[in-house]
Symmetry: T
Subunit: 143 residues, 12 copies
Amino acid sequence: MILVLNGPNLNLLGRREPEVYGRATLADLERACHDAGRELGVEVVCRQSNHEGQLIDWLHGAAAEGATGVVLNPGGYTHTSVALRDAIAGIAVPVIEVHLSNVHARERFRHRSLVAGVCLGSVLGLGVDGYRLAVRHLATASG
Amino acid sequence: MILVLNGPNLNLLGRREPEVYGRATLADLERACHDAGRELGVEVVCRQSNHEGQLIDWLHGAAAEGATGVVLNPGGYTHTSVALRDAIAGIAVPVIEVHLSNVHARERFRHRSLVAGVCLGSVLGLGVDGYRLAVRHLATASG
Amino acid sequence: MILVLNGPNLNLLGRREPEVYGRATLADLERACHDAGRELGVEVVCRQSNHEGQLIDWLHGAAAEGATGVVLNPGGYTHTSVALRDAIAGIAVPVIEVHLSNVHARERFRHRSLVAGVCLGSVLGLGVDGYRLAVRHLATASG
Amino acid sequence: MILVLNGPNLNLLGRREPEVYGRATLADLERACHDAGRELGVEVVCRQSNHEGQLIDWLHGAAAEGATGVVLNPGGYTHTSVALRDAIAGIAVPVIEVHLSNVHARERFRHRSLVAGVCLGSVLGLGVDGYRLAVRHLATASG
Amino acid sequence: MILVLNGPNLNLLGRREPEVYGRATLADLERACHDAGRELGVEVVCRQSNHEGQLIDWLHGAAAEGATGVVLNPGGYTHTSVALRDAIAGIAVPVIEVHLSNVHARERFRHRSLVAGVCLGSVLGLGVDGYRLAVRHLATASG
Amino acid sequence: MILVLNGPNLNLLGRREPEVYGRATLADLERACHDAGRELGVEVVCRQSNHEGQLIDWLHGAAAEGATGVVLNPGGYTHTSVALRDAIAGIAVPVIEVHLSNVHARERFRHRSLVAGVCLGSVLGLGVDGYRLAVRHLATASG
Amino acid sequence: MILVLNGPNLNLLGRREPEVYGRATLADLERACHDAGRELGVEVVCRQSNHEGQLIDWLHGAAAEGATGVVLNPGGYTHTSVALRDAIAGIAVPVIEVHLSNVHARERFRHRSLVAGVCLGSVLGLGVDGYRLAVRHLATASG
Amino acid sequence: MILVLNGPNLNLLGRREPEVYGRATLADLERACHDAGRELGVEVVCRQSNHEGQLIDWLHGAAAEGATGVVLNPGGYTHTSVALRDAIAGIAVPVIEVHLSNVHARERFRHRSLVAGVCLGSVLGLGVDGYRLAVRHLATASG
Amino acid sequence: MILVLNGPNLNLLGRREPEVYGRATLADLERACHDAGRELGVEVVCRQSNHEGQLIDWLHGAAAEGATGVVLNPGGYTHTSVALRDAIAGIAVPVIEVHLSNVHARERFRHRSLVAGVCLGSVLGLGVDGYRLAVRHLATASG
Amino acid sequence: MILVLNGPNLNLLGRREPEVYGRATLADLERACHDAGRELGVEVVCRQSNHEGQLIDWLHGAAAEGATGVVLNPGGYTHTSVALRDAIAGIAVPVIEVHLSNVHARERFRHRSLVAGVCLGSVLGLGVDGYRLAVRHLATASG
Amino acid sequence: MILVLNGPNLNLLGRREPEVYGRATLADLERACHDAGRELGVEVVCRQSNHEGQLIDWLHGAAAEGATGVVLNPGGYTHTSVALRDAIAGIAVPVIEVHLSNVHARERFRHRSLVAGVCLGSVLGLGVDGYRLAVRHLATASG
Amino acid sequence: MILVLNGPNLNLLGRREPEVYGRATLADLERACHDAGRELGVEVVCRQSNHEGQLIDWLHGAAAEGATGVVLNPGGYTHTSVALRDAIAGIAVPVIEVHLSNVHARERFRHRSLVAGVCLGSVLGLGVDGYRLAVRHLATASG
């Protein structure tokens, strides 16, 4: 199973600054992840929370839930959360960081990711397709 | 309706470092906001939380609750929360940042506000009256 | 009496970058301050200068003129003038810093205020209404 | 009573990067604290949460619960949380910061503690024994 | 057609620090790109150079050669080349930046990418599969 | 008409550090500007002041005086004056920044120009001829 | 003879970000330089390369080719090339740095020029006319 | 003759933050300078201004007035004025910088003096006696 | 045996800034260390020096003297001495860094410890009890 | 009695970089101090050492020796020694920092003084006369 | 065989800033290397290029050419080239960095070497003899 | 005579972190220096101290002892001692800085050398052979 975790404000997708984040809603995004999983015969579970602690709890529980990989868009916590970084480093399941927009084309404080260094890798700026590619990578590697 | 959101540690008001924050309690502060609203014929709803995610959830729900403006004192999250910034930028309701104390007369890490740039404006250092002035500005502008 | 001091380039109001500073002229702004004072039974005196030294001279003379509070928009000197800071710190009359635009939504060098730390407080980004609110705060506190 | 609060990811102890954090589990650690308390005739209460807001709530309630001291390992929030700092500064109960590992022998962003300046003191790098020593200090001082 | 450009030192692949870059050679990597293109019915052309100016020349010529997208691994020029950035910004063909290793888990000077801000997006740390995913994204979008 | 404004210490020209600024006096420099204007049939008006506020006043009045362009050497205010920057940004007349010496071959604090970003352009290090070239550019563009 | 050297991406002129660089092509620009030279009876030779090493080679050969001055637009190498700086410092022919756009009104990393300190001077933001003025300055000084 | 120039806010002496600046007034301070001069048979002329431009004008005129040395307390301009620095560097008369308080025991932005590097020397923190010592040094050297 | 080394200015204890360091003298502090050792059956040897080189010499000789652990308060050398750091890293005996006061509640330059990264751990801000706890930790571990 | 302490390399005076430090030897300098003391009826004791620890020892012993003031030139330790700073802060005798040369006209690392903030004041750049003035200030104040 | 690679501008040796680089030409320098090799019975091959990519190509080919060591003076690329650093790290042949002048006695941007960390070692400021010593070290170790 | 001075912790050689510093002892290192001197007919005198002041005293006495050159490994003082820098600058004998390990491949604070800028040159990372090469350079130059 592959766990797709969306962090703060991603529940606003489609309504929030559509010129930056596009018009797809969170439901559209999650549907794309499920489709990508189905295509490869891998279950995909999607969750969203605005609470840093909740995201950490889900990461801690990922292995016990049977996840073989996590796709994580940490939203604004990307740039500020050492706790999230420690959670990723502390679990055995590989995590891929995904961002819908190209964070490097935006404000300077978005250029630094505190979590990138402990993830397997990152996919930035490719919109909903970035999630699909990350699911595909984890599914292929994890079977 | 105008939503007044107080962030972490503002529930300690009156007890916490009174030489910095004054002797008014959170109840006093909220009463002042209600009074200011009543004077202008605008409903005022007050809430407080120490949880970053809770503050984000309330901001997301503001428009649906009928809020035409938000007065926000993000407490310590002012200086560290990109997630809160994104929540403010992601909603259509105007937000005014308020601080009881003059943050610029305090530690250097309090001089930077991550949220100020996406708020309508800020009122700093005017104590409880700062909330009143912010309510008045939003009430007058939003009717 | 409340003294309203406008610093460099505020004489251009209405003509200068109206998308940033709005369409109100300096005369409009000063009229709003006089109105706010009249409403509260407090005299308001307004002055503008592009000269740093002139602003300092006026601050020094404020108490002798009978001012019980000063509303100060230091314009570009906000970010560069230690001399202005020292003048505010050196007088007994309380000073509120006001900016028409939200300086935190603009260039990085506008985010730092050298004077904020010695003012009573600051009102940012609320346009002409910011002056009104500052006058009201001083008038209420000083009577 | 002495309150021992463990922050984010400390529930992973024993499983998480054992070369950094050792093989003792959170249960082992809490048992050591209880033992240290019992030896000195002081009750010890232990709690853990991954939620910043929960830690703040517990700190606020410490005095009302009868705590005469708090041993706090803020985990990743150490380096990023002004809200936690304000909570510690806002309560009357003394707090000692504890870290299992020597944070100064690790990544640069772990060298700065936002909470250290408002704690009574800090114990770093002495593993589970660091908690014992902190309990002992508080118990002896608060008895 | 999709152009795959590899920058300095990628000709050493398989021999150079295999614990960082893996054991696949440049030929293996280019074969994977060709395969990915063939699967989607899109021609893929691969080139490698250690010369910054050569990479710029190829980017300038991409549209004229019929490229509808470029996959670019700028190697060490990622962190130092404004000229490469300008070349990407100056052409109409979309570019995706790819890195084999997770640059954020390495030296600090590798954390900054001068080119990321003008690319469509970036894929980091997913090894040879990162190239495949980038080709797929461009092929699907441009196909 | 083209206005040539010289800022602080340029009245010392010829006497002040001639190995840096050359032996031409301010009168020589102004004569060169008048000559350049006469050659192109454009009136040139020259002024100098050591007062930041005076320079701002002249910039504000430029359009009303009939100036179609301003050549400005802000001297030491180049590196420190946000107020001057705002004055340039606030007027409709194009301004060219000129420096006699090559500021980049001097102390580090001279490398940053606060005004350059709001000028049309800059001419540095070409001595008196820099003024001539700037007058010529403005005269040709403005007729 | 005066040598006009254009660095990386200037071959894209007219096509590349015309809102920044204007609509003139490199051919137009070089024609303007030739015209300026002809007017003053000085031969002008123009070259362009995207290769840092090629630009260095041309600078080294300038004196032997009979150049009495060099007009150099180093493009993106302006901000990153110590090697180019050393080449300019190492030859006897005076060099003027020219930029079409006002680099100070753009990204922060464009504000620093590594070559400016060893050039005779700089002309920024005056478009094609900047080249003309630089040629004129060198031609007048060098005859 | 020795010129003693006091900058912004020194007219407030005795009234302004007496715990920092002492209880002596500007008149007391100037009397001490005159006394020190009389003792050594050297005329002393004292002036004060809050205007940066005025201080520059006085420095420019010092030699013509017959001054053989200048004692300068630039107040807040110390930390911000390149123009004042250039004025000191541009005149032949030696200048000694004096501060009443120990600027290094105060805010960080007061630790840097832009003028110190071009003065003969500095006397800090010795109160009114610092002026006396500076007059004495200049009088003895210039006699 | 456990070696307790006190660095510069700790001989002033009791007299020096008692509001920061407390009223206990160095003799009191050393007595507390001896008592703590006696209680655990471990010999404790105490020394103090203001000389960086002397502290390094003692660290080098620790093993030969039979020390199984060192408690080190490096005083002001904490923040500046790479040589002391190298001495600690170069010996086989474990070292615990102790500070009487909470260095993080003081000047910024005291927040960085150059030695912490090569010590076993640190105890800060717990006064004389910090030494006791460090002796206890070493005695228990080494006993 | 007034103690004059010279730090590292001041024994080289007269021989060491005479264009920076002048031709007077340490003996000359000490003679000038003795003369200044004799003139005011105050004993002066002079010492020099290249050892940081020795300077600290002398500062600690100053009061016991009967010193009512210390003139200290800490040489290179000025910029690097927290230990020396702590020694000055830890004793009751007032200390004046003196430097022969104008450190602000030299390398950047000489601009910061770690000791200045805890001294009574500083005299910089006035050569041997700086010592005389410092002795005079202390003698007059301490008599 | 030992490969001696000289980077940009070293072909100017003898002509370029001789007060910095000395009067020996590149031919002299290469002759000294050949002589040093001959003395130790090791072949020495010398090359120079101003092209970063060319230097990388040569480093890549070093082992295949039979080189057992490389002496590299990267000229201006020393301070800016991550690509060159990666090339050195990516080959098995040991590299010694050599600079003719003492880079630490020059501009600040020359103090940082991007390549030093992956070289065997560095020899700086010893002129042509530095090359000889480097050849000798490699020859002795590899010979 | 050539003086070889080893600074703090070099007496630990062979025992201290042998993976960094190698297995040769200080005696081995000094023997290698003596051998190198003997080979060239130059006397070599070796000393080691952990005391900064002692190293300064030896540098001051070098010329009087007949030294024509100094080989100096300042150990940890390299990165922190302005006093040592001043001692080197203050004597007439040339000094070469030597480090056994490649400091640029280690912690960031080891990358900066405060003494390098006033030495003749530096040899880094070549182990004991670095001393030999430095002796040889000085012996040949000083003969």
